[in-house]
């Protein structure tokens, strides 16, 4: 288990952090997924796919709960940084914010497709996790990538009316 954890946990955390935008949520969900894996005792060959599928479902379930909570919680104003950042760090922070914002505008399915592809999953595995036909993954991915880059370029160029 130790070797498997060392190998898979960083990948799962990276995937979840990109998917949720929250390091805390990524840690919680990654750990919960591994606890469930320990209870199931799956062969190692199946463990990676199983972990990512369970984690994706946990994110989806959590996102539904968050939507319900947001209806009753009042908006919390953003906390201002205590001191101004150097220009280079400021620019990096702006780009991170842009990537995050564009990812969050994508439909949940597109986000999952893109991020699982980035983690090296095969089309069949992605299809099973997302719930689409394997033959449609190529087309869905091509469109999702295009949506991301078009929206990202608009934000970079300042053309996005949501800026």
């Amino acid at each position: 288990m130790d070797a498997l954890f060392q190998r898979l946990y960083p990948q799962l955390f990276r995937y979840l952090h990109r998917l949720t935008g929250s390091a805390d949520a990524a840690e919680d969900i990654a750990q919960e997924s591994f606890v469930r894996l320990l209870d199931r005792k799956l062969p190692e060959a199946d463990a990676r796919r199983w972990l990512f599928t369970v984690a994706t479902n946990l994110v989806r379930d959590g996102a539904r709960a968050d939507k319900r909570r947001q209806r009753i919680l009042t908006a919390i104003p953003p906390v201002q940084a205590a001191a101004p950042l150097p220009d280079e760090e400021l620019e990096r922070a702006e780009r991170i914010r842009a990537v995050r914002a564009v990812l969050d505008t994508l439909p949940e399915r597109d986000r999952t497709l893109l991020l699982m592809r980035e983690e090296g999953f095969r089309y069949g595995e992605i299809a099973a996790a997302v719930g689409v036909a394997p033959g449609s993954v190529g087309t869905l991915l091509a469109r999702a990538v295009r949506r991301f880059t078009v929206a990202y370029q608009r934000r970079e160029e300042g053309d996005d009316p949501r800026e």
């Binding site: 130790d2 954890f5 060392q6 946990y9 960083p10 955390f13 990276r14 952090h17 990109r18 935008g21 390091a23 840690e27 990654a30 750990q31 591994f34 606890v35 320990l38 209870d39 990096r92 780009r95 991170i96 990537v99 995050r100 564009v102 893109l114 991020l115 592809r117 980035e118 095969r122 089309y123 449609s136 993954v137 190529g138 087309t139 869905l140 991915l141 091509a142 469109r143 990538v145 295009r146 991301f148 880059t149 990202y152």
Partner: protein, 256 residues
């Protein structure tokens, strides 16, 4: 010329095309500038996406996560073991209680076991207590109704008619002059009609008829249109199949 779809080009980029379709597409790309341009655009977009996503990454705290995961797994295992121990104790208590007749908590322990067992193993078929079928309540015996008359002559005729079959008829002798006829009916109350030295009984369904006649005199029975000579003198004689017969009583009918 038929161009390749964006999905096919994306699959080529991701190494997902089988050998034969890949070879065919590569041949097509050699001759089709439009598809090569499209493929280049997909490749550029994928590279831009990968670079953008790398901006988001931060290192994972692997060691701390491993400690948390193993601790939580141990806690979960302890909870499961405690539950199983509780179930075992409850089972043992239920089994012990089952051997004590009249123990007040016997039924409670059995019910609690069923609830816990089904909560822990939801995929099992639910265990249900055996269904007790209540014994059918006995139908109340119909109460006989009847009439009596004192014949004017020596012969009496009793006419019996039941619409669902021949009733059980019991004929008895007694030392009085009175003729008594009592009857029951499976549906409703029998109807009686009398005439000179004649009694008629009509019933719905089936039933029983008790006829008591004087020793002296004759009795003729009509049962559902069939005439029987039941008595001459002081002996009961009945020419048909009899369920029971003595010198003073005859029982005959469709059922014994």
């Amino acid at each position: 010329m038929i161009h390749a779809s964006e999905g096919t080009l994306q699959a080529l980029l991701d190494g997902e095309l089988p050998d034969a379709p890949r070879a065919e597409l590569e041949r097509h790309l050699r001759d089709c500038a439009a598809c090569r341009t499209e493929l280049d655009a997909l490749r550029h977009d994928s590279d831009e996406l990968a670079e953008a996503l790398r901006l988001l990454d931060r290192p994972a705290r692997v060691a701390a996560a491993y400690r948390d995961v193993t601790a939580k797994h141990r806690r979960n295992a302890a909870v499961v073991a405690l539950r199983r121990a509780a179930v075992f104790l409850l089972f043992a208590a239920t089994a012990a209680a089952a051997t004590i007749p009249g123990w007040p908590l016997r039924a409670w322990a059995s019910e609690a076991w069923e609830r816990v067992a089904s909560a822990l193993a939801p995929e099992r078929a639910p265990v249900t207590a055996p269904v007790r079928v209540a014994a059918p309540e006995p139908r109340p015996e119909p109460v006989p109704t009847g009439i009596s008359l004192i014949p004017t002559g020596d012969a009496v005729r009793v006419v019996i008619a039941y619409d669902a079959g021949r009733p059980r008829v019991r004929v008895r002798l007694h030392g009085e002059r009175r003729v008594e006829v009592r009857a029951t009916s499976s549906r409703g109350t029998p109807r009686f009609r009398t005439g000179p030295d004649r009694v008629e009984v009509r019933g719905k369904g089936t039933g029983e008829v008790w006829i008591t006649v004087p020793r002296a005199g004759a009795l003729t029975l009509d049962v559902n249109g069939q005439t029987y000579l039941a008595k001459r003198g002081d002996q009961l004689r009945f020419p048909g199949p009899q369920a029971e017969a003595t010198e003073t009583e005859i029982l005959f009918g469709a059922r014994s």
